[in-house]
Point group: C2
Chain length 188, copies 2
DNA sequence: ACCTGAACACCGTTCAAGT
DNA sequence: ACCTGAACACCGTTCAAGT
């Protein structure tokens, strides 16, 4: 999907309007919000939505790409300020909070660590790889755990806290349980 | 929903046909299978489906109620044969395998430990309560973890392994990580 | 008392016609 | 090159008419 200057002015404007409407709609009605409704609220024909974003997944990705990048950037800041183990936990905590606050982000990460994975969550994968690498070298992480395992489990933990209905108080507890398991030496 | 003898013979038969079709459809197309299709395959009108099962959730529950009970019963057998900690892990492993094998069971447990909870998963809640209680008394489980936390985390772990696309090899690893965290003494 | 199936509303997706 | 919106297919849900 071309996103560059090469778009006609009205096309670029429509794309922007669609994204604004999408962010609003996903926040209000979850990741399953009506696409037709999004087009209507953006003031464009439904065909225009499909021209810009051929699938729901593509729209979700475009709507949240900047959030994903800002979460990924936090990894660097935390790595500077905290020891490796704590930096990883803290980052997972922020990632989890983001998944609870921004509806649809969890679905996006889920697809990324599954088989429907696109490149949109690559910044998160790079971030967790760096944090996991550092934690391993510091000896606070078992060596048989891959970065992608950590993302999957973080996704699972976010699911668990969403089920608990909490606003982020549960996720900290669950992450600490998980981290204790990750810290222990590998199974025989 | 009356399920007793009080139903007319044709009603009881239709109910049975609907359940068979539902189990098949959920297995083939996931928990979102078309209800209209289920009615057609059962050879009844769509209104009949709604008369027996007013919501998709009600149909899911009726379709899997016996599986749920048989998983719950396994808890007792395992508790007799194994020490408390191992019995809990083993049971969680079987529960997880069930969630991966039978599509829709995970959704059902998710609803049960969330706010949309009905009484259909109560056997599972009782089972985990007994196992957790025994493990606590044996001193192999931290005391600040509630049975419902364990179910939620098991649900999360099953989600994580489903994302991994495995057929039950990952879930064992993930459960062991989780169990290590559950075993450790409570946080300060 | 229960069943049927037409009818309605809603949503996703496509595409011919328009600028 | 891009947009529009009518058209189509599909699904969930209701309800008047039938037995």
């Amino acid at each position: 999907m071309a996103q560059a200057r090469s778009m006609r002015a009205d096309a670029r404007r429509n794309r922007e309007l669609l994204l604004e409407a999408a962010v609003e709609a996903f926040a209000a009605h979850g990741e399953g919000a009506s696409l037709d409704d999004i087009a209507k609220r953006a003031g464009v024909g439904s065909g225009t939505l499909y021209r810009h974003f051929p699938t729901r997944q593509a729209l979700l990705e475009a709507a949240y790409v900047d959030r994903i990048e800002s979460i990924a950037e936090r990894a660097g800041e935390l790595a500077e300020r905290l020891p490796p183990g704590e930096a990883l936990v803290e980052w997972l905590n922020e990632l989890g909070a983001g998944m609870l606050r921004i509806r649809g982000l969890r679905a996006l990460l889920g697809a990324a660590v599954g088989d429907g994975g696109t490149e949109c969550c690559d910044p998160l994968k790079s971030a967790v790889s760096r944090l996991v690498g550092a934690a391993r070298e510091a000896g606070v992480l078992r060596r048989d755990v891959e970065p992608v395992d950590v993302l999957r489990l973080a996704h699972g933990v976010a699911t668990a806290s969403e089920l608990a209905g909490g606003e982020g108080t549960q996720i900290r507890r669950y992450l600490e349980l998980l981290m204790t398991g990750l810290r222990a030496r590998g199974a025989p």
